[in-house]
Amino acid sequence: MVRRNRDSDDNERPARRKQFKRPGNEDNETPAPVNPSGTLDIRNKMIRQLMYAKLKRSKSKTKLQERKARQKSGEPKEEPKTIEKKRKRDETWVDEDDQEALDDITNDELNNYFTRKADGSQPKLLLTSQEGFPTSFTNKFLKELARVLPNTTYFQRRHHPIKRIIKKMNKLDYTDLLVINEDHGKPCTLYISHLPEGPTMKFRLTSAKLSKQLRSNRGKSCAKLTIRPEIILNNFNTRIGIRVGRLLAALFPHDPQYKHRHVITFHNQRDFIFFRHHMYLFKNDKKVALQELGPRFTIKLKTIQRGTFDAVYGEYEWMHKPKHKMDTERAKFFL
């Protein structure tokens, strides 16, 4: 038999019988003893849990009330803060009429292409892998790329040093060299070297998907692109961005054939350039339908080197150096 001390302070202990608390009667009850750190002070787990659930409900209720009040009052909504909006305006940001940038562009190595001079205007690309033999996925990826990028040849690189390849390419009037290196079976780096003394850019290649793997394509691989597609270059804002954008644009021939409705996009977002290949259809003047064909991948700029590929003696215009803390700021982008 247990003796009950009637004189003891019963009030401190929580009630023996759990009263079934209806969710409607919250205003009448005393609020749960809440710690300054936000936790409840009740030692009984079941009751503590109940109290906590109640607390949460009341909080969300107040929030909802505030929200409704805000909506009713008709205040202008705050814009959601995105990293793009927080981005600081660089000195390198190019506005529309930046004279310096324009001058830069006119004296570019890629100028030949953009002013449609005879030697530069029709791009001829050579696509290779790294030294040795590419693995299966990279092989497929390379062959797909060779089909999507117009006027490309996939050349098997068998221990040929790049400089020798470049020499030969100059004789055969190629304009661009693309080299894809791989790591652990997946393509990991892309070098684009514009040939007649153009800049070489190294990109880090990620999330490569073949056209077979795209769901919208229904498991079929992409056919060879015999026509000239349209190009979209989005968000290349800074000086470096313009340089990269021009190099990428110079891979494709002039005068796109609009009738065939192919579009290749390089979309830059937070220094990641997304490559997409779509076929589009205007349903009316406000709606477009897109179907994704062709491979997709993301590239991120690592280095820009002046002149054709020369890893040792080349002059690097820009390098991404994580050691020197180029990555520390969340809202700082280079392209």
């Binding site: 989005n234 609009y258 009738k259 997304f274 259809l281 003047d285 477009v288 339908a289 897109l290 990555d327």
Partner: protein, 417 residues
């Protein structure tokens, strides 16, 4: 050194590294087949064979034979006298005697108590970390500290040196080791060792020559590796944290980019600006359904039917789509929200998935492999009515979908057809 008699060449045991050329050949054997490589292998084998016949090679063989007296004329050096003195630390006794005793004392201390160079990582073998050690083992004979007369061969930046330590210099720690630069040629270096260590104990001499051999092979290997591409390639470590961060940033950037919408906006902008010219016209009230309109209907990837709405420049015609595919319906945006649609389609039977049956004029375009594949439909365009059809995309779609699953067994299917 070279005797007048013809000494038969003893069969050389194939050491692990063998002849350097063999090493090359084995590497090449792994490098994949191509005519060039085989030719190189053959050339090298030939070179190796000619090398093996050279006289200096035979000399080298002789020189490296261990424990053999250098010349028959020289007399074996006498072991130094072991003077037995009562007091171990007798300074006045002859140096020779002192030497042995002193060494013994040192060895007893190092072996028994503590030596900082002693490495016993495995149960069977004790190693010596001293840089001047000849064999690398912790041994009475190999310990450079416990032997006042000692010699080693060491390599510094690709050049081999013979280091010698004698009793006479034991009081000058700074000048203790005499450093002799060995010849670049292996055989001459062997001869040098023989000259310098002429009256030295056989063990030291032999081990020095062995060490010389090993080091020259090592140097050859490093040189070859340096010339190879793999040495020029810089191995860069993958930083896990940085990688993780990058992938995460990429995912977030992808979400923020909303690429499809961006592309659509861009295309619409271009349309507005007029870059497409007169290719697209979107009539506001396209209710009239003339026969001409039917014929000049536009082609559609998604097999969408909005008659008269997408009139493209006369000549694109589509073949077929009798049924809607569910998958296509997913791709497309909201169809049929416009009033125009509803008006047009009023006349036609409507069901949930809108199977619109429209009759087209069928054009037969020869497609390779059509007989085998059965009925093929395709998307084709042509620049003008006189031009040839250019096939853009093939659709392997049967006209009546359900039949596809009627006969799972191929044989039955073939019979039914």
């Amino acid at each position: 050194m070279t005797s007048n008699e013809k000494i038969p060449i003893p069969k050389m045991n194939r050491s692990r590294w063998g002849h350097p050329l063999v090493f090359i050949a084995s590497i090449i054997g792994l490098a994949g087949s191509s005519a060039v490589y085989y030719a190189q292998i053959r050339a090298r084998q030939k070179a190796r064979n000619t090398f093996l016949e050279q006289s200096f090679y035979k000399e080298a063989l002789e020189l490296t034979q261990g424990y053999k007296p250098i010349t028959e004329k020289l007399v074996e050096p006498i072991q130094p006298l072991q003077v037995d003195t009562t007091s171990k630390f007798n300074i006045l006794s002859p140096l020779g005697a002192q030497k042995m005793q002193h060494d013994d004392v040192i060895w007893s201390v190092l072996n028994g108590q503590f030596c900082s160079y002693k490495q016993q990582k495995s149960k069977t073998q004790i190693f010596c970390a001293n840089e001047y050690n000849l064999t690398g083992l912790c041994d009475r004979r190999s310990c450079p500290l416990a032997n006042s007369q000692y010699a080693t061969v060491r390599e510094e930046k690709g050049i081999l040196y013979l280091y010698m330590k004698v009793v006479e210099r034991s009081h000058y720690p700074k000048k203790q080791w005499e450093k002799v630069k060995l010849h670049e040629s292996y055989i001459r270096a062997l001869k040098q060792i023989n000259e310098h260590l002429i009256y030295w104990p056989r063990f030291v001499r032999h081990k020095c020559k062995q060490r010389l051999t090993k080091l020259t092979q090592y140097i050859i290997r490093t040189r070859r590796l340096m010339l190879k591409k793999t040495a020029k390639q810089e191995l860069v470590p993958i930083k896990k944290k940085a990688e993780r961060r990058e992938t995460r940033h990429e995912e977030k950037a992808f979400v923020a980019a909303n690429i499809d919408r961006a592309i659509e906006n861009e295309l619409l902008d271009r349309l507005k600006k007029g870059t497409y010219g007169d290719t697209y016209t979107f009539p506001v009230n396209a209710i009239s359904l003339d026969e001409e309109d039917d014929e000049s209907e536009s082609e559609d990837e998604k097999e969408e039917e909005e008659e008269g709405e997408n009139e493209q420049e006369s000549e694109e015609e589509v073949e077929y789509v009798e049924d809607f595919d569910e998958s296509d319906a997913e791709d497309m945006e909201d169809m049929g929200d416009d009033d125009i649609d509803e008006e047009l389609i009023k006349a036609l039977p409507l069901s949930k998935k809108r199977p619109l049956e429209i009759e087209y004029e069928s054009v037969e375009i020869p497609v390779r492999g059509a007989e085998r594949a059965g009925i093929i439909y395709c998307y084709a365009t042509r620049n003008s009515p006189d031009d040839e059809w250019h096939v853009d995309k093939l659709e392997f779609k049967a006209s009546n979908q359900p039949e596809r699953y009627l006969f799972y067994d191929r044989e039955l299917r073939r019979k039914s057809k």
